[in-house]
Each structure stands twice: as C-alpha cells, then as structure tokens.
C-alpha cells in the first residue's frame, strides 16, 4: 500500500536534505543513552515531510540535528549537498508559540531576522507576511495581547520573512486547542502552497501527519529509527472521511502497534 523505501522514488530528482546513518548518543551521569540509530531520510525540494512518533522517541532530537543545533554522534546531515555544521538563516526552526519574543510587537518580531535589509525592503516584507498569516490590524500588538494561534502564526511569519528554503517545525500546534489546531493546519498548507519551502514537521499526532504531509516518516521507540515512510497520495484539500485517507491513517496506526478502538 505505501512506499516503504527510504530513498525518493525517482533517483535523479534533486535532493534538498539527506540524513545518512544518523546516530545520536547522549552521555548523562556516566550513563550513555542511544537516542537515534541509523536514521536515513531524503527530502526533495519543496516537499512536506512529517516525522511521526511517540513522545520522547527522539524525533525532536532528529529535527535539531537536521537544523544544525546538535551534531550527530555518527553519520551526517547534508543540505543542498553540503554538510550541516550549524544553524543558518536559510533554514528556520519554529518552536511552539513560546518562541516569539514577548518584548517585541508583531512587526518587531517579523522584522527580527531582517536586520541586514534596507528599511524599505524590511517594511515591504513585514507588510507582506503580516497579511500572509492574517495578522492585519495587530502590527503594533504585543504577543501577550494575542491568542495562542495568533502567536503561532506570528512565529511562522517571523520564520518565513527571511525567505528560508527550509522550515523545521517542532510540534508547532501542540499547545493549541483542537479547533485552532485544525485551522492552523489549513493555514500552514495555504502558506506552504504559496511559498513552497521544504518543510519538515515533527508531530506525535497521526491525523495531523496524514492531513499535512507528502510523506510521513514513522519513527520507532528508542533508540529511534525510521521504521517506515508512508507516501500520502491524496491531493489537497484532503477529504478526512475518504476511504484512502482512512486506509493510510489506519496503516500508520497498525505500524505504531496501536489499536483502532478506544
């Protein structure tokens, strides 16, 4: 039913990011914990990949490694064919909404990464991204005056404003209520269709992964590795009650060893 090869289907397609045999071992109090084991993943430019796994399995560690905040104990991560040695404004990491700077206004937050640009260009980008994420009228508002969903959109806008090729999203909607979460997914897809950045999105929510991703990388328990990659071959907007959606979703449920009934 689903493509299980870790390689991209077309071998001559360009590769944006490739993780090769990535392993991660943490030393703490004299104990060594293996968090990641032989993780292999290739992502095409403009692709939306979800990394799905249970809480604490190491998927955030994998994302931090791909973004250059951690260096792997073994293996390597390459972006555009170059070894990743640190974070870069070309690829922005988005946290849950707690990452916005509370001492800056909406405008100030979006302008945060734009310090190298001319004033004119900066103002143009602020206006554009305020509109793109639907925060018009809140330009002068501080984060404490915004709802959780608005803060999350602000953080996405701040990330997009520097024109990154890649976005790393670490359970970005985890702190939102389930209704806001659904709207935010739709918003994110709309923005992604406009901007076409490569997105790697970490989540523990199976539905979220199947609704958003082109492909879902299912992680195992610790030491985590990618046990299967599922291609979601449903065009957007996705019908959440279509047989194909349910089939893919149930397949991943099975993969994670979960029952279908509560």
């Amino acid at each position: 039913m689903a493509a299980s090869a870790n390689k991209l289907p077309e071998t001559d397609a360009p590769i944006k990011l490739s993780a090769d045999h990535v392993g991660m071992v943490f030393q703490r109090d004299g104990k060594t914990t293996q968090v990641l084991r032989d993780v292999n993943l290739q992502v095409a430019p403009g692709e939306f990949v979800c990394i799905l796994g249970p809480s604490g399995c190491g998927k955030s560690t994998l994302l931090s490694t791909m973004a250059g905040f951690l260096s792997p104990s073994s293996g390597e991560v390459k972006i555009d064919g170059e070894l990743v040695t640190g974070p870069s404004p070309r690829r922005i990491f988005v946290f849950q909404e707690r990452g916005v700077f509370p001492w800056l206004t909406v405008e100030g937050n979006i302008a945060f990464g734009l310090f190298k640009l001319s004033r004119l260009e900066r103002d143009r980008r602020i206006a554009y991204y305020v509109k793109l994420v639907g925060l018009e009228g809140f330009e002068k508002a501080y984060p404490s005056e915004l709802s959780g969903g608005m803060k999350q959109r602000l953080e996405v806008a701040r990330a997009l404003a520097v024109n990154p090729d890649m976005l790393f999203l670490d359970e970005p909607f985890g702190a939102l209520d389930s209704i806001t979460r659904l709207t935010m997914r739709r918003e994110l897809l709309r923005i992604w269709e406009a901007e076409r950045n490569t997105i790697i999105f970490v989540t523990h929510d199976i539905d979220e992964a199947v609704q958003l991703a082109d492909r879902v990388a299912v992680m195992s328990d610790r030491p985590a590795t990618i046990q299967q990659i599922v291609t979601i071959d449903i065009p957007h907007p996705r019908d959440l009650s279509s047989p194909r959606y349910l089939e893919l979703r149930n397949g991943i449920f099975d993969q994670l060893g979960l029952a279908h009934k509560v």
Binding site: P87, F95, G99, F101, P102, L104, F115
Partner: protein, 260 residues
Amino acid sequence: MNSLAEPRKWEKYFWPVLASALFLALWHYSVIWSATKVFPSPLAVEKGMAQLAGKGLLWSYIADSLRRVALGFGAAVLVGVPVGLTLGWYPTANQIVNPVLQILRPISPIAWIPVAIILFGIGDTTAVFLIFLAAFFPIVVASVDGVSNVPSMFRRAARNFGLSPLQLLVKVVFPAALPQIIIGLRIALGIAWLVVVAAEMIAVDSGLGYLVIDARNSGKRYDLVVAAMLLIGVIGLVLDLCFRRLRNFKSVRWGFRNES
C-alpha cells in the same frame, strides 16, 4: 462588599485616607493622654515643618538627599548592570567572582562608613559612595539572574537568524532580562533611600538624615526629628511609586504578569 469586585474609584482613595486620618488621630490623642513632654503631636510637627520651610532649609535638605541618591544610585546602575550582564553571560567569570560578591553583599553599607571616611573624608563623596555600595549588589545580582534565566529557546532562535554575539546580547538577552533587572533596580533604590539617611547622619551637614540628628543634638527639637522622619517616609513612597510605573512600558510588562 464583594472582595472579588474591582474597588470603586472613590473607595480606592477613601479607605487609605481614612486609615491615615485615624493614624494621625491616634497619634494626636496618645500624645495628649500620655502627657508626654518629649514626643511632639502631629500639629507640633506640622508647625516645625512650616518653620523649616519658611527658612528655605526644608527644600534644600530634600534636594540634597535626592541629589546624593541620584548620584549614588545612578552610578550603581551604570556600573552594576553591565557587570551583571557580563557575569551572567560568562558563567565561568561568575563562578570566579561570585564568592567575593557573596561575602561583600551581606555587609551593611553602614559598616563601610569608617572605611569610606578614610577614603573620601567627611563630605558628599562619602555619602554618595555609601549609596553606590548599597545599590550596587542588588543590581548586580538581579542582572546576573536575569541573564541566566533567559529561556534557551530565545538564544537558539537568535542564533538561527544569524545574530552576532553582540547583537544577541543587545537584541535578545538584555530585553529578555530587563523585567528582572527592573525588579532589582527597584529594590536597590529602596535600599539607597534607607542608606542616604544613615550616611547623612555621619558624613555631611545637610539633607534629611542630617536634619534628624541635628534637630536632636541642637536643642532636642523632636518636632523636627519626627518631621524629617515623615518626609523620609513620604519621599521613599513617591520614589517607589515612580519606579513601579516603569513596568507599565509594554516592552517589559510581559515579565510582570504574575505580580500585583
């Protein structure tokens, strides 16, 4: 009256004014009933204050005290905040300097008076130095804590956007630590105002602290002693209220949400 309800406008002023009036009445009648010859009544204090104000001494004393606090506290802010930011930024430096700071910190500025007089002689500089010492340590400690409490997520986001270390300090670490620094400044200003009185009793011949000791020594004018005490209290309150307003700036208000 529902305690959860917002107090009405007039209530906000009525009850404190009533309490103050009751306090004055209690004071007044205590003086009458106890038939004390030494302790002045509120009316005597008011007369004494008017007498001083008439001579022009009152305003110059207040101005002198405020000037000393402004100089000493200002110098403590200018030195203490950068020192605190640096120590918070370089944990190794903090580990080295911290024991010395922790030993100096609990020493009351009053204990420094003899040393200060040796260093600066009798005069303004000594008073300003003592106020500086009193304010310096709380400011340093608050700034160190402020920096070390900056969430790692903020630093990480700043690194991601390619900020240089200096930009990181100016654009992220300082604003993130600012609410805590402001709390430290407010505590330091309160202490500075306590210490100016002590310093003026010993080191100089003007100011509200000098007024307290001088009124007692030259003619046991307890009306003036109490007048000076009341002024010290009122001015201290006003300084604190002014400082509390700082937190209303929107760029720091996020850090005070859990405070009254």
